[in-house]
Symmetry: C2
Subunit: 143 residues, 2 copies
């Protein structure tokens, strides 16, 4: 069975966060609003996204260590080591970031979104609408 | 800037759903409970996941059409065509499936999880804990 696939960036995060060392661990921990620049070839795929909408942003943590299988959660040694699938560590076999955010503004091939902890230049691999109701009442804005 | 990345299956969905034609469109639309078989090389990464836990399952829709940029939502022609990033269509540039589910049982390199619409043999690319509280009160169990 096929087990390797090629993933292609559809755009990049433009953020004041320059490196991972200074990035918050989650979007609701003081992360800045960022711009999502989508490559022109994927412009049509944005059609229908609206200002104020809750979306999932999927990123590729290009600076991650993909050989890591166990970590101390949040990098703190007093937290007992667990498997990476039980954590949100960016170090994992397929370093996909899952960010829940809100669309603040829309331009040509560009979305301004709220509070994302990914560093400048992080590749965007997918955008999806948040489904279900009444999610706006949930307290998990920044999964 | 690097724009292509290799993603590797860490396991596969074992489901009674044999093909996409018969699969529900979302996990809360009658999808069966499924087994997640993780390859032995990634066994350690599962450590710490618990029965009853809410998790995100990320899959690779291997049967998707990656050239699709616009769709009629849910495949229904009376729904006006929109960009795939505004929908949960499996046909999209990087056909990643995002499934919120609950761990029902845990075995060696295996998780039994609730209501997932992915077909048998769908590659698993990541597993993450659902973060934030009080998510159990949200009505979005199957994003």
């Amino acid at each position: 069975m096929e087990s390797k696939f090629e993933i292609a960036a559809v755009g990049y995060v433009r953020s004041p966060l320059a490196d991972r060392k200074n990035a918050p661990r989650q979007g609701n921990e003081g992360a800045p609003d960022v711009d999502i620049e989508i490559s022109p070839e994927f412009e049509q795929a944005l059609d229908g996204i609206e200002t104020g909408q809750d979306i999932w942003l999927l990123t590729w943590f290009h600076a991650a260590d993909r050989s890591t299988l166990r970590v101390h959660p949040r990098g703190e040694l007093h937290n007992p080591e667990v498997g990476v699938f039980a954590t949100r560590s960016p170090d994992r076999p397929n370093p996909i970031g899952l960010h829940r955010t809100v669309v603040l503004d829309i331009g040509k091939c560009r979305l301004r979104v709220q509070g994302v902890e990914a560093i400048d230049g992080t590749p965007i691999i997918d955008i999806k609408p948040v489904l279900g109701a009444p999610e706006s009442k949930c307290h998990d804005k920044h999964l």
